[in-house]
């Protein structure tokens, strides 16, 4: 049969933003998928060169608007490295707790939207947003704003933690442990969900390594790689947690990896909360017009973001970065879409794309 070329997007309800796909189909079988990106490009790396160091976290947060705090923290730690600033011990624990909460919020949103994409399973969407709202509320009370926190300062955080932070965190962890148990009831036992994820979009171990994917996509394909384990920062070396690793690398495995990761994050939060003293001192340096000077030397920071491994590569000047280059994990994870979509049904393109957890703001930069 003749190939038919179908245009999807850039405005499409299932592409989670403005990704444009050009799909060649033979009947209902996909032969080739081309991704067209750049509809959200606004030149973050260039804009960062014209700003002082601590003006940039606001830009960094808008890269990945589902997990803003993780980019914020990664950039600020690069600045700390450039200035040779020490992070307070309590602030390290507090940052770890907030980052893991952010990871849970990000995965919950992903889970809800994936279930929504796979045939209007609105229950899981509503549950995920119900639980995410509770996490977001805690982060809001710590930082003062709801979505873009801009909470991390050199050497610590912006404000002291709320007085009841530990109690509330323990209560939230208890709540989430109960709430997360409910999801398999509507997803793992759901025939639609299983049919559309199990065996769909399988990524082999070799391909995963060759394409350079990272994060849950890589671990679902059987590679136990995580920056928190291989190059521990903060107190990740002190806490015990496992890396959930799956074998097959299909959409269902990616779901399982992220689900298990949420449980592991809860375990990390529990252990870190035990390390955090009641009277904590977490406040970092305030933002000044002319701040501390950086030493001109190349700086590289690696972090395990919710979507994979992120890298900030920075050449600092005294008061502002001379050049910044970012490795965004979803940009590299997107490259694998063409490989995964060979000879699948047309409807599965969106199931696969949803399971990769794409954020277009981070891809286009």
């Amino acid at each position: 049969m003749a190939l038919v070329r179908i245009n999807v997007g850039p405005v499409h309800p299932s592409t989670h933003g403005v990704l444009r796909l050009v799909v060649d189909v033979d009947g209902d079988t996909v032969k080739n998928v081309e991704c067209h990106i750049g509809f959200l490009h606004r030149g973050v790396e260039k804009l960062c060169e014209t700003r002082m160091y601590m003006q940039n976290p606001s830009y960094m947060e808008k890269l990945d608007y589902i997990a803003p705090l993780s980019w914020d923290e990664m950039y600020v730690s690069a600045v700390e490295q450039a200035m040779g600033a020490e992070v307070k011990q309590d602030a390290q624990y507090a940052r770890m707790i907030l980052l893991e909460f952010q990871r849970i919020a990000s995965h919950l949103l992903w889970l809800g939207t994936l279930a929504n994409d796979l045939g209007q399973m609105f229950t899981a969407f509503m549950w995920a947003f119900r639980d995410r709202a509770k996490v977001i509320k805690l982060l809001e009370d710590v930082a003062g704003s709801r979505m873009f926190y801009v909470n991390v300062r050199i050497g610590g955080l912006y404000m002291p933690l709320p007085k009841d932070f530990k109690e509330r965190s323990y209560a939230l962890v208890d709540y989430l442990e109960g709430a997360l148990r409910e999801y398999p009831e509507v997803l793992d036992d759901n025939e639609v969900f299983m049919e559309r994820t199990r065996g769909v979009g399988a990524l082999s171990r070799e391909d995963a390594i060759n394409y350079g994917v990272s994060g849950p996509v890589l671990r679902a394909s059987g590679v136990a790689e995580d920056v928190r384990k291989s190059q521990p920062y903060y107190a990740y070396g002190k806490v015990n947690f496992e890396l959930p690793v799956m074998r097959k690398g299909d959409s269902f495995d990616r779901y399982r990896v992220r689900y298990e990761e949420m449980l592991q994050s809860l375990s990390i939060i529990r252990q870190t909360l035990a390390l955090l003293p009641d009277e904590s001192d977490v406040v970092g340096q305030p933002i000044k017009l002319i701040g501390q000077q950086a030493k001109p030397d190349t700086v590289i920071t690696r972090r395990e973001l919710p979507r994979g491994e992120g890298i900030v590569y920075m050449i600092p000047e005294k008061q502002r970065p001379y050049r910044i280059s970012l490795r965004s994990p979803t940009f590299i994870n997107l490259a694998v879409l063409q490989k995964l979509c060979e000879d699948v049904k047309f409807a599965d393109v969106f199931a696969i794309m949803g399971s990769l957890d794409l954020v277009l703001g981070e891809i286009d930069r």
Binding site: G17, F39, L40, R42, G43, Y65, R130, F148
Partner: protein, 225 residues
């Protein structure tokens, strides 16, 4: 405890709701009223081609009561377009999700196709390559159509003001009815914005026919966007 009946338990009364363009009687018999009005107006209206396709707008121009009825109907069934660009789209999702649940107020039936929608909520920054697409979506919506600029980026470019690839506000391309401020605005702010739009559609706001368009509307064309 007072002996007064709470207002929501009181039966239908003939007193008009203060400020409403219709009486309670008309409200209760809305269907009958509409049929009557349409019948009357079809008699008055000189039908040229086909009575089936008599335009609502032309009927409403001829009769004040029909105009108010049409406005009332439009005001209470705003259907937004499911159209997210960037960060603000996450708050848009939260707007429809369990905490706010906008559906209880009648705003929310996010549709995937522009042809079924009245309101376009521009949530996020609009890049130059996105402008023709946004314009096309707007033109595909059926009239009357309304635009809400949601967030700083859609209002004025936001933090990307200096960027080389950004429209500094969607009002350079489309006429905007309501601006919602914030980066990103809370879902509650969108609620307020939609209520303002409701007032505007229902004719309850002074100057409700005005829509703000920036002065250099053609700028994007001269720049070859």
């Amino acid at each position: 405890m007072s002996d007064e009946t709470p207002p929501h338990r009181a039966g239908p009364s003939n007193a008009a709701v203060p400020g409403a363009p219709y009486t309670v009687e008309q409200f209760m018999n809305a269907e009958k009223e509409m049929t009557k009005l349409l019948g009357q107006s079809q008699k008055n209206y000189k039908v040229t081609v086909n009575a089936m396709f008599a335009k609502m707008s032309e009927i409403s121009k001829s009769m004040p009561l029909a105009r108010d009825t049409v406005r009332w109907a439009r005001m209470n069934s705003l259907w937004p377009l499911q159209f997210g660009l960037a960060c603000c789209a996450i708050e848009l999702m939260d707007f429809g999700a369990s905490r706010i649940d906008a559906e209880r107020k009648g705003y929310l039936l996010f549709r995937g196709t522009p042809r079924q929608c009245d309101v376009m909520i521009v949530a996020g920054w609009v890049t130059k390559s996105m402008v023709p697409r946004v314009k096309r979506l707007y033109l595909q919506m059926s009239e009357p159509r309304y635009v809400i600029a949601f967030g700083e980026c859609a209002t004025a470019g936001g933090p990307w003001w200096e960027s080389y690839n950004i429209m500094q506000g969607i009002d350079q391309v489309l006429p905007v009815d309501v601006y919602v401020c914030g980066c990103p605005p809370k879902p509650e702010n969108l609620f307020e914005g939609l209520m303002k739009l409701q007032g505007k559609v229902g004719g309850k706001v002074a100057g409700s026919t005005e829509r703000s368009v920036s002065e250099n509307l053609q700028r994007h064309e001269s720049e070859g966007v």
